[in-house]
Structures are given as structure tokens and as C-alpha cells.
Symmetry: C2
Subunit: 199 residues, 2 copies
């Protein structure tokens, strides 16, 4: 393995380990030594690739938030009509909750520190606003295609984002307490009923 590959591999394994640790124990409670042990590298390697523990966290969330944005955008345009799209996306939530519980803890961790740490806040607020835009455009598309009444896209988009965030929050607190996918779908049904254009 050449130098570049080795370096990238090391950095990736550190980020992977950090993801697990931060999700499981939180940023503060996770030690750099712990991350290094899990990654199978030394502290020297860690501080060769990252300026600080916080820097590693920032890089983590940046890539994760960007990946989430990609998924959102792909999903949003993957259905014929907007109501179908919303219901489809809601159904996928269940898979996410079930298979990737780790990311939900990370989501919480991110949110907590975003309200306290200025750097993390900045790194979070920008993608967050783009998520909001995606939902807004989705609502606008729903209006244009005749699925929805002429509601305010900003409000309805915010509503959708809040609802999603809220469900994530509940699900992370009590993953097995309910069938979150089904619940979210029923909620979307009610919502759609409120947005739907009457004939």
C-alpha cells in the first residue's frame, strides 16, 4: 500500500472509530485514547491527522450532514407526486431507525453541542437551512402539481422538518417503544389531509 492510501486508510479508521465513540458516549465523555484504541492507531497518528478532538468531530459531522443532504435530495425527487414522496420517505425512516441507531445518537450529540459551541453551530446551521429549503421546494412542487392547497411553503416546509426532527428525537429516546415508521406515515397522512387540495 502506498503512502497516500495508507494515510487515507488511517484517517478513515480514526473517523469511523470516533463516530462510534461519540455516538455511544458523547463528545465530552469520549477520550482521544479511546478513539485511538478502537481505531487501532496511536495518539500520534490521531494528532497527525487532526488538530484537536473538536476538529475530528467537526469533520465527522460535516461529512455526515452532507451525506444526509444527498439522501434527502435524492429521495425528494424519486417519486412521481409529492404526497407519494412524503409517504415513501416516511416509510424509509423505519429502516434508518432500525439499522442505524448509531447515527441517531450522533444526531442528538450534534444538536446538543451546536447550541453551545460556536464552530459546531456554524457547521450545523448551514446544512440545516439547506434541509429546510429542500422541504420548501417540495411543498412548492406539491402546490404546482395541484396536490396541495396554496399554503405558505416556508411554513409547511418548517412543519415537515420539525416533524421529522421530532420523530427522530422520540425514536432516539425510545427506539423500540413504537413502530416509528408506521406512526410517521400515519402522521404524514393526517398532514397530507390538511394540505390536500379539495375538489
Amino acid at each position: 500500500m502506498n503512502n497516500l492510501q495508507r494515510s487515507a486508510q488511517t484517517k478513515a479508521s480514526i473517523l469511523d472509530a470516533a463516530t462510534v465513540c461519540f455516538a455511544r458516549e458523547g463528545f465530552d465523555a469520549t477520550g482521544v485514547a479511546e478513539i485511538c484504541q478502537r481505531a487501532g492507531v496511536s495518539k500520534g497518528a490521531f494528532y497527525y491527522h487532526f488538530e484537536s478532538k473538536e476538529a475530528a468531530f467537526l469533520e465527522l459531522i460535516a461529512s455526515w450532514l452532507s451525506a444526509l443532504e444527498q439522501v434527502l435530495e435524492d429521495e425528494a425527487y424519486n417519486y412521481k407526486t409529492v404526497p407519494e414522496g412524503l409517504l415513501g420517505m416516511a416509510g424509509n425512516i423505519q429502516q434508518i431507525v432500525a439499522n442505524n441507531r448509531m447515527l441517531m445518537s450522533l444526531f442528538l450529540e450534534l444538536w446538543t453541542h451546536a447550541s453551545r459551541n460556536e464552530k459546531i453551530h456554524q457547521a450545523t446551521i448551514a446544512p440545516y437551512k439547506r434541509y429546510l429549503l429542500i422541504f420548501e421546494k417540495l411543498v412548492q412542487r406539491g402546490i404546482d402539481e395541484g396536490s396541495f392547497e396554496t399554503v405558505d411553503p416556508a411554513s409547511a416546509g418548517q412543519l415537515l422538518l420539525s416533524l421529522s426532527s421530532g420523530f427522530f428525537l422520540q425514536a432516539s429516546l425510545d427506539p423500540d417503544g413504537a413502530n416509528w415508521g408506521k406512526l410517521l406515515q400515519e402522521s404524514i397522512h393526517i398532514l397530507l389531509n390538511g394540505l390536500k387540495r379539495r375538489n
Copy 2:
């Protein structure tokens, strides 16, 4: 001041200080010394009243969650019809967000640790399920009084709770980024439109 009053006063000031510190910096980043300094007492006093830092946190959130439950119940039955009630409660959110930003940080802090610490989880999940019940009953009342269609109260209640949590989440991330009270009211309007019984 007699012994009992003095003791209660000291404990209360510790809890007050702890509330501020935990909300501002989080549980992990807050030191016992910091709490004591803010409360104007010594570490000896702290560990005379609390078994550990975690115990103080648990006592904090227990009283806070219980207070929130009281507010919810009072508000829920303080309006003539359920739609009015929901809109009224949504309007009050703005005041809460504006005046009591500290509690929102604490809310986040609580949620984060609830998914990791078993004791905190138990202390959170019980009140949380009672909140859910309050919303469920509210929906049921809406159905009974003829305001709503015959939706599933459990789903609609969950929807309401998720929406509230989601808005709290957004508001804590970006308190001045939007007029949260107004946004939530508009969201409730859309929701009500979906729940409303058609004539």
C-alpha cells in the same frame, strides 16, 4: 433561620445554580466546583445534600419534568374547544422560547443523556409517556366534541408531541432564526385542517 430552613435554602440554591450551569455548558462540561461557586457554597455542602453530580442532575430533571407536566395539563383544559387549545398552547410557546431559553438547553441536555444513561433514561421515559397521554386525551376530546374526524388518538397524539419536540429542537438551535410561535401556530392550522371534520 432554623436548621431545616437553612438546609432547604442551601439545597435550593445548589439546584438553581446547577440548572444554570447544566443548561449553559452541559452535564459533562460542568464541574461541581463551578456549581458550588455559583451557589455560594462549598463542595462539602454539595456532597452533604447530593450523593453525586448525577444525583443532583436527576433531582433537577425530575422536578422540571413534573412542572412541565403540570403546565401541559393545565393548558390542555384551559380552553373551550380543542382546536382553540392547540392554537393557544402554540402561541404560548413563543413566550417560553423567548423568556426561558435556559430550559430549552436543559431539555436538550436531558434528551442527550437519556439515551445513554440508564437512570436518566428511566427518569425521562415515564413523564414522557404521560405527556403522550395528555396529547392523546386531547385528541380524543377533539373527536368527542366533534372538532376532529375519528382519527387514531394515539397516532395523532404522537404527531402533536413530535411536532412540539421538533419545534423545540429547532428553536434551541436557532432561537432568533424565525418567529417560532407564529410558525408553530401556522403549522397547527395546517394540522387542524387535516384533523378537522368535514361538513
